[in-house]
Symmetry: D2
Subunit: 290 residues, 4 copies
């Protein structure tokens, strides 16, 4: 296996009204403080007049101590340009909770990647509304918590789930074919921090049973969409999409089977982009600095 030195870098994600000199000011801030920029990605949405940037630099020798960088950047740069921003450090792994129901393919794909060290992420917790996948969680020694959901207990159960997520200092949630609608209250607690996989190339076939609808419509491609969850069901900002070809020979069960492969890759791609701090949501669209 290839050996990669663990990185010690800072990543800034920001957006603000576009104007001249933004790149200069940000890069000077890093350069003047002895930071070595190793990656810079910027984008201007001309229609909206908004500037977006992701910038990553090495912290070795950086003059400002790690826990002060945010304060300095906020005071000297972000305030001046009315920036919305976040800073991340690659030595701190994000903590991901996985929600599942009965289908195992996305869960296995995630756990196999985690197990083989492909991702810089912690998985302290798997939550489910059913017990079916508890054995899978056990195989990988990850705590599994069951919260059966009914119309009557939903609000109460979600409160317990949220408490558990907070207790485990979860930084983002992945719905890996979790077959329950998350309430708006829950979503508000994790804005742009809940990733869902929908089993169609949205906006085609939102809602339940998209493969059955795809079969009925006679499409020649099926797909999957990973997106951040918003209050508007299946309408949140899209992170990644992919498709696969089908033919008239494929009955619905083949669509389900072929779709699973697309789902797991599209979800894992979204997780990777999120972990690497490559995503920025604005106006219900996701900028992915891939």
């Amino acid at each position: 296996m290839i050996k990669i030195e663990p990185k010690d870098t800072a990543i800034l994600l920001m957006h603000c009204p576009d104007r001249k000199g933004l790149v200069v000011h940000v890069t000077e801030f890093i350069d003047n403080n002895n930071g070595n920029i190793i990656s810079l990605d910027e984008h201007v949405d001309r229609e909206e007049g908004i500037f977006f940037m992701r910038i990553e630099w090495e912290l070795g020798g950086f003059l400002i101590p790690r826990d002060k960088i945010g304060e300095f950047f906020g005071t000297q740069i972000a305030a001046k340009f009315n920036m919305t921003w976040n800073i991340y450090f690659t030595n701190i792994k994000p903590r991901m909770a996985i929600f599942v129901s009965k289908m195992s393919h996305c869960l296995y794909d995630i756990l196999a990647r985690h197990h083989s060290g492909e991702w810089e992420v912690e998985i302290p917790l798997i939550i489910s509304n059913h017990s079916n996948l508890e054995p899978v969680a056990k195989k990988f020694n990850i705590p599994f918590e069951e919260f059966p959901i009914s119309k009557d207990n939903k609000s109460e159960q979600e409160k317990k789930e949220i408490a558990l997520l907070k207790k485990h200092k979860i930084s983002f949630v992945v719905l890996a074919r979790y077959m329950q609608i998350i309430s708006d209250d829950f979503i508000r607690q994790f804005p742009n921090k809940i990733i869902n996989i929908h089993h169609s190339f949205l906006p085609a076939f939102p809602g339940a049973k998209p493969y059955h609808s795809a079969y009925q419509r006679g499409v020649k491609i099926i797909g999957a969409t990973s997106h951040y969850v918003t209050a508007d069901l299946d309408a949140g900002p899209i992170i990644d999409q992919a498709v696969t070809r089908i033919t008239h020979r494929d009955p619905v069960e083949n669509l389900v089977m072929k779709g699973r492969d697309v789902e797991k890759l599209v979800l894992s791609k979204a997780i990777l982009m999120h972990i690497q701090r490559r995503t920025l949501v604005y106006n219900n669209r996701t900028i992915v600095f891939a």
Copy 2:
């Protein structure tokens, strides 16, 4: 260039309620009359209980004369099994009319293929509601007829178009980014014989301006769909679909540009499948024996 002997074959396309022995009876009919089957594709839709088949055989030495094959097959086989069927002969080229408006990319792609001999098809006629593409038609020496359409004259103009199509013995019509809705009366004259290209991966973004909608929705793939035209707009049986990836860096005009490449390939693929008699429509879905 590769030299291919012009084929002299017959192609039967059929469907009927499924039952035992269908393949045997059809292949025996051909074999007993000294035909050499060179291709056989069958499909059973188990949900609907319908059998579909495309079978092609060489006519050299076939006992039944060409103009009697239909009668014999209809009497001896098709009637017995309640088949819906058509027979085609590869020595007779289908005759295609192209409808265009102002955009040239699909038209150029079609004419370049025709000009280089890629397709076994005649193109006696290009029809448009605008004069913009007349120079393109002229480059390729294909008659160009302009029928400007307004709310008031639509019905009258369509009648003239239909008359012209009949006069030219047109066997199928291709709407190559024709920006006018065809009336139901027109469609009824050419059932499953009008091919349209829609510039989205249907059923996502039906109607006008799909690229603008795709941009607004923030999708990560765009696509195109070729389909037979039915009275239900953008809902006809799909022949082919394809997609291409986009990113946040692509403004709408890039989507339009990247989409053009998908559109022209998806339309040309549908035309090829139609010309080679590989398509069968049933229940608003298209079987493509590719």
Copy 3:
């Protein structure tokens, strides 16, 4: 989940010199004995003059008893047309052995599919030249046997492996990133029954370290190839291939990571085709009746 009735069908795979009437004779054999054909795929290689067919029929009510079908078909049909053929019954699951070394992604993908019931296959055995993946095998309760290979013991170890495969009645072997060359003797015991995954789009980058070579060459796509193993390294008949796009931003370790996703899908696709008896090898090329 979709419920699918377990099938009780027979599948015949055959090839022979092409001549008139082959389809008729085979379909008549099935029809006359009261079999209901549910799928027929044929192909004629015109250059070689060879006819290939896969035909599947329901055994309920078939006049010839299961264990006599081969004898009857061989005597009445295959002998007459000089056919090479095999018959399979879907009520008997093939038995697959997996060979691995240190990388887990293909193994996880296979075991997750098996565990969720996606494939009609038994996996009685995992063999490795290293102990690294024993914990993965254990997670799924599959016997794991380690056979460390050195220059000196290779022949002897392979003999033991073959004995073990025979003992377990293994019908085919999957090399899931097994990093050892299999000897010709071994291969001869399992002709067209060993499936390998090579981590490049062959014939580009055969041999070791294809991702490093791909990086050096500056290609814009990388891929993977599943193929039957022959004595000629990386030159066996290809079953499936797929690719993914890369850019100048991808260092070698990204190629390795992105490649893993292609590898596991391409290998699993090949296994599915093999299990469903959809592959036929002729002249170092694989016909895949997909």
Copy 4:
């Protein structure tokens, strides 16, 4: 159609040994002189220790006059960091010559795009070693010059071609399925300015007749590669690649037909990237700031 304001921008492409502060110095140069950066793409090749950048800014209000920018940048910035660089202005269209032989699909694709205004490029000249495609050139009113090539006259004919290219102030050459090897002398005159399309996914199947070789090898995907031409045949820096799926049903002539669609898109993509100054060659690899 979408109306896009013609841009008046400058584009700098540069590379140099990596060190701290490069982005800052270049962006300051533009910012201090009142330029508005509209796009910045940088890349560091860590293995080689080389920094690459493409930066584009609006010239309206820029303090340095257009014809002095190069001198100022060269003196103040490039010299200090040992940069290799080029500056381009979007108000000056590059001038492209097309070389063809007998196949028309790439030529049609290029001319159709040019005709519809898709590209900001001039095409003053088409050169061929055969007369076959003269009618295509005529359709689009582009001068066509025939230079038949034999072993005896090659050197002499190439000299005439080069003279013609210089006379027409050609800035880059496109070999659109030109079936002649260009001599090293010719190539040296246009370093990284000759784009070729090769009809395989290189490095698989270099040389002549790649589709025949692909058929023989039994691959399941075919492809095409656009690259800059170097003295080493089919080994120049790759700009773009794409593939398409084939099956056992595709004879060689189908590979040729399906391949044409890939070839024309991959070549046109490379041309677009070149025209938009998005390509940088280093160490026989192409950075494409797409």
